[in-house]
């Protein structure tokens, strides 16, 4: 189902930088580069059970997810951040982390398709 719905909304980004296509493209590329890097680190921290680090990375990713209007992850990324900070409900991560990866991958695909 996720494949059929546009998972992001660039309105917020455009409101900040203007609608000039080159600028929009530049920032989408920047998001693709930086968020994928952060996601790799977040997965590593999760695997290593370094939840504090994982929470800090979720915090870092939070504003980018908000900016790119990825509504389906706004709540989830905050939950990961809180779990990392409080170290409670760790079992929820088993669902949340794969969801994060799955949706972000789909977002990347959709974005690349749009900018190309």
């Amino acid at each position: 189902m996720e494949e059929n719905i546009k998972l992001y909304n660039l309105d917020n980004l455009i409101s900040m930088i203007g609608s000039e296509p080159e600028s929009v493209k530049e920032f989408v590329h920047l998001f693709l580069d930086t968020s994928s890097q952060t996601m790799i680190q977040l997965n590593e921290a999760f695997e290593a059970q370094n939840y504090t680090q994982m929470g800090a990375l979720a915090h870092k990713l939070k504003s980018s997810i908000d900016l790119m209007g990825i509504e389906s992850l706004k709540k989830e990324i905050r939950t990961v951040e809180i779990i990392g900070k409080d170290q409670n409900n760790l079992q929820k991560l088993d669902d949340l982390i794969p969801k994060l990866n799955r949706i972000l991958e789909e977002v990347y695909k959709q974005m690349q398709a749009e900018i190309e």
Partner: protein, 450 residues
């Protein structure tokens, strides 16, 4: 204007670049993005005008970076931009000296834009104020403020210089119009306190019942009409100087309170309990002889000694010799410059006339005389006739001006001749002298009738 340099400290590269991009749309902004607190702290030597700081950074917390920046330069405004929606964190950071706290959401861009705009406006206002203060400082340089080369005035310059270099209480005495307030200002603006306030209060102009609240402030409800807390002149002058003019007019009860404040360096507002520390240089002035007032019981002896500090006695203008001409020329030139008139010269006769007068109103009177002369003059020269003295104390002045008996006689006869339309017989009768004496004086040129 210098470019407005903004540091964006944000570990999320994407978000940091976005904020940089957005702020860079203002061509006056020079924006630099750092992803760690350490990088920002290491770049503080570039003197940023403002810093946008993410609260959560990989190497240190926003609070730690804030402390380091403030330690380096507490004047740099820091705006915290954070995903933390925790109010207590925001309050803590604001208490630590953050300029503003902005939560990351869809309005961040606009809020940050407005905050930076406000910071820039505030900075330019502060800069303007600081430039104006410097200008004022220049205006009050000793030799700019007080013109003259006479020994008596040069001696005053030396004392003013000594006063400016220390925190000593200064008491300025001198006749009315000798420039006591100007001296107080010159001392303040040439002292290390120059950038702090200079507050003047004329003791004789404030009713006794109001002076305590005026000087030390009052709390809300302290008395009928005290509808809000008000800080007094001593608090207003914090780290600066307070000039108490006409100090001899202060009533004895108030003198005791002033003594306590000066001695203890602390005050309590009227109707309040809180003790407030004061750090104020006190400069007092009076046209009266304070020692005499102490003898008469009108002034407290303990306060007298406390206020005496460095006494500067300003000489009356009549004792300043050629300073009269230097000042006369200065006032005429100033007046003509302000009124876009050609600067006239002062004729020899006019100079003679100026030098002979006694100036009971001192420099203030000379200024008025010269401004009137500049207006009355019909040529490029100010003539003796353009100068008119309107002193209200002419008899005293007549005696104050040292002269020979012959000189006084000539003046008296001339005065009577003018008064009785050159009627020599009438003048001789009034003064009980022989008319031949007057004729002889006219013949020998000792007096000349107008």
């Amino acid at each position: 204007m210098d470019p407005f340099k903004i540091f964006i400290v944000e570990d999320d590269t994407m978000y940091g670049e976005l904020l940089s991009f957005n702020l860079s749309l203002n061509p006056d902004y020079e924006v630099e993005h750092f992803t760690t607190g350490t990088d920002c702290v290491n770049a503080l030597y570039k003197s940023p005008s403002a810093i946008s700081l993410d609260y959560s950074l990989p190497d240190m917390t926003g609070l730690e970076v804030l402390e380091k920046i403030r330690k380096y330069n507490p004047e740099i405004p820091i705006v915290i931009v954070s995903g933390q929606e925790d109010v207590s964190t925001a309050v803590d950071l604001l208490k630590q000296g953050a300029y503003d706290y902005i939560v990351k959401d869809e309005d961040t861009k606009d809020r940050l834009w407005n905050t930076m705009k406000n910071i820039r406006e505030n900075l330019s206002l502060k800069k303007e104020i600081s430039e104006l203060k410097e200008e004022i400082g220049k205006k009050y340089e000793f030799n700019t403020i007080i013109k003259g080369k006479s020994n008596v005035i040069l001696q005053s310059f030396k004392l003013m210089d000594k006063a400016a270099k220390t925190n000593i209480t200064v008491s300025v005495t001198g006749e009315t119009g000798t420039g006591k307030e100007l001296v107080a200002k010159a001392i303040h603006y040439n002292s290390p306190r120059a950038k702090k306030p200079f507050i003047t209060i004329n003791v004789s102009a404030i009713p006794n019942e109001l002076i305590e609240s005026e000087l030390f402030g009052h709390e809300k409800g302290a008395f009928t009409g005290a509808s809000a807390r008000r800080i007094g002149k001593f608090e207003e002058a914090a780290k600066g100087s307070i000039f108490l003019d006409e100090i001899a007019e202060m009533d004895l009860n108030m003198q005791a309170k002033l003594l306590r404040v000066i001695q203890e360096k602390e005050l309590t507002r009227v109707g309040g309990n809180q003790i407030i520390k004061t750090d104020v240089r006190v400069i007092v002035a009076t046209h009266k002889n304070l020692a005499e007032e102490v003898k008469k019981g009108n002034f407290r002896e303990d306060l007298y000694y406390r206020l005496l500090g460095l006494p500067i006695e300003l000489p009356p203008l009549r004792d300043r010799g050629n300073d009269i001409l230097i000042l006369a020329k200065f006032f005429v030139d100033e007046f003509c410059r302000e009124n876009k008139m050609d600067k006239p010269t002062i004729s020899h006769e006019a100079q003679e006339k100026l030098l002979k007068y006694v100036y009971p109103g001192n420099v203030r009177e000379l200024k008025a005389i010269m401004e009137l002369a500049a207006v009355m003059s019909n040529s490029a020269n100010i003539e003796a006739d353009d100068i008119s003295f309107n002193s209200t104390r002419s008899m005293t002045d007549f005696l104050l001006e040292e002269n020979t008996l012959r000189g006084y006689t000539q003046k008296i006869i001339l005065h009577y001749l003018e008064k009785y339309d050159n009627n020599i017989l009438m003048v001789a009768k009034k003064l009980d002298i022989g008319k031949s004496t007057i004729y002889r004086m006219i013949k020998t040129g000792e007096i000349s009738m107008k």
